[in-house]
């Protein structure tokens, strides 16, 4: 691991002042950053430990929503009474991810800021445009079973591995950040980005900006939602494809539906036009299939991951059916609902 300066500020303003350097990194739970530092993929010269900042609270907002502190752990968030009751989609997605040990250590801000990545990003003996801009991409034409089918570029086909973020995309959360130029709010859809020709940029944070909270809107779609995660083993593996559905039914018709995909792109994948197709429709397989086609428009396989397109199509239909039926949420029950 690289040698670095270590600071442990107590206040957010102090942290932001310390974190503005080009080679600075904020450290929270460490579950991704420390791992990347061990591999010499992340090489910060200055580590700003933010664990002392007062950003752990989960509290009600005046508009009826809920504010998730950036330093609340993933586990404390998933098991929080309000999250369980009002945002079961988020609780389910968090509990689908990683392991209990990692969810105890990992924070909400850190979940957003874990790197969009693949095994070539970790392997410093292979080329990676995300790690070393301009070096090339080992995954294109290489081993790419886990890689993106949507929104990739000729420079990077990595996927964002978070489950939590797929739910946050569907819930249309907002990200509160604090930086050298003050505070601002980033809509979740604009937080992560596609690789384009700058694959080293995973998100739209400006230099030195720090996530302080994630705000959930008042509407949590608690009655009709689902997080369906498909992976190579039943637990503790990244999604090959995951689907978050948040739906509102009125008199048997779909008043609103949101569908976000995980494991398929550099960021959680949503297509508003595809979701619009369901407005006023009665739940049914034909309507759901049309949504799947629209969501996957333009999907391209890389060879080994071609199967993801068909898998995603069926997963979308199944997740929509589960959400419409109000299927209870459990990441423990591995049977096909």
């Amino acid at each position: 691991m690289i040698r670095f300066d270590y600071q442990r500020p107590d206040a957010t303003a102090e942290a932001v002042a310390a974190g503005r350097g080009e080679h600075a990194a904020y450290l929270a739970g460490g579950t991704n950053l420390v791992d990347l530092m061990k591999e010499n993929v992340a090489r910060p010269l200055q580590v700003v430990d933010i664990n002392r900042l007062p950003l752990k609270a989960i509290e009600a907002r005046e508009n009826g929503g809920l504010r998730l502190g950036a330093l609340a752990s993933n586990a404390d968030t998933a098991y929080h009474e309000e999250v369980q009751a009002r945002y079961p989609l988020l609780a389910s997605a968090i509990l689908a991810g990683a392991s209990p040990q990692l969810r105890n250590a990992a924070t909400n801000g850190g979940n957003l800021n874990q790197r969009t990545r693949c095994y070539y990003f970790y392997d410093t003996d292979t080329p990676c445009n995300k790690r070393n801009p301009g070096e090339g991409c080992g995954a294109i034409g290489g081993v790419n079973r886990i890689h993106a089918i949507l929104g990739a570029s000729d420079q990077c086909i990595a996927t964002h591995p978070s489950d939590m973020c797929v739910a946050l995309a569907a819930l249309e959360a907002e990200v509160q950040v604090s930086g050298p130029d003050g505070d601002r709010t980033i809509p979740f859809a604009d937080y992560h980005r596609l690789p384009g020709d700058e694959p080293w940029r995973d998100n739209t944070l400006r230099p030195g900006e720090l996530v302080t909270a994630i705000d959930l809107p008042a509407e949590g779609f608690a009655s009709n939602c689902t997080y369906l995660k498909l992976r190579d083993r039943l637990s503790y593996a990244f999604a090959l494809v995951s689907v978050a559905v948040a739906m509102k039914l009125e008199d048997g018709e779909i008043a609103e539906a949101r569908v976000a995909l995980g494991g398929v792109a550099h960021k959680p994948w949503r297509v508003p036009e595809a979701e619009q197709l369901l407005r006023g429709e009665r739940p049914g397989e034909d309507a759901f299939r049309a949504v799947a086609e629209a969501l996957l428009k333009g999907a391209v396989g890389q060879g080994e991951n071609d199967f993801k397109i068909g898998l995603a199509r069926r997963a979308i239909v199944r997740a929509l059916a589960q959400a419409a039926a109000g299927t209870p949420q459990s990441q423990t029950d591995k049977r096909i609902a």
Binding site: R8, L27, L45, Q46, P100
Partner: protein, 177 residues
């Protein structure tokens, strides 16, 4: 590569390193307060094993993927390989050495013996610390829930059914067969 560098804040450049600095760290380890000096890049796992001779916690993958290094930090199970020790100033750490002793086994240790829940034993300290974390959390009651909630601990000998038996016995939520 252990490149020794430090930051010249004004220039943001890599410059020659000062002698490796250590920082004071206070931890309560298995109930005993310890005043330590550690370099900031030391993981909790390396501190336990290399400096404190608490070698029960194992370094399996060193990447948070296998769970062999699981310890309890303020009662919560975490992968000690992914924690920089300096970030834990003031915390209470419990390792397998703090749960039981050879002549006074922790109930989980006794249950692992009784249910033949290990072969090589390498993953066992992490399994037991993780199981204690599971019990502290209180979210798992059924066999399926125990299996899901123990998924962060790999056992390459494949003792999973017996590990679930042992954990369920201590949980006391399932009758013995």
């Amino acid at each position: 590569m252990n490149e020794a560098v430090t930051l010249d804040r004004a220039a943001g450049q890599r410059v020659a390193a000062d002698p490796i600095a250590t920082l004071p760290l206070t931890l309560t380890i298995n109930g005993e307060p310890r005043q330590l000096e550690v370099a900031p890049w030391t993981s909790l796992l390396d501190l336990l094993r290399d400096k404190l001779d608490l070698t029960g916690s194992k370094k399996g993958c060193d990447h948070g993927q296998c769970g062999a290094c699981t310890v309890l930090i303020d009662g919560k199970r975490m992968n000690s390989c992914l924690k920089l020790a300096v970030t834990l100033d003031g915390c209470e750490v419990t390792t397998i050495e703090g749960l039981g002793q050879p002549d006074n086994l922790h109930p989980l240790q006794a249950a692992f013996v009784e249910h033949d829940a290990f072969q090589c034993g390498y993953c066992t300290p992490g399994q037991i610390c993780s199981a204690q974390g599971l019990i502290n959390e209180g979210h798992a009651k059924t066999r399926d829930e125990v299996r899901e909630q123990m998924s962060g601990n790999l056992c390459r000998c494949g003792a999973y059914p017996n590990i679930a038996d042992a954990v369920l016995e201590v949980l006391g939520t399932e009758k013995k067969a």
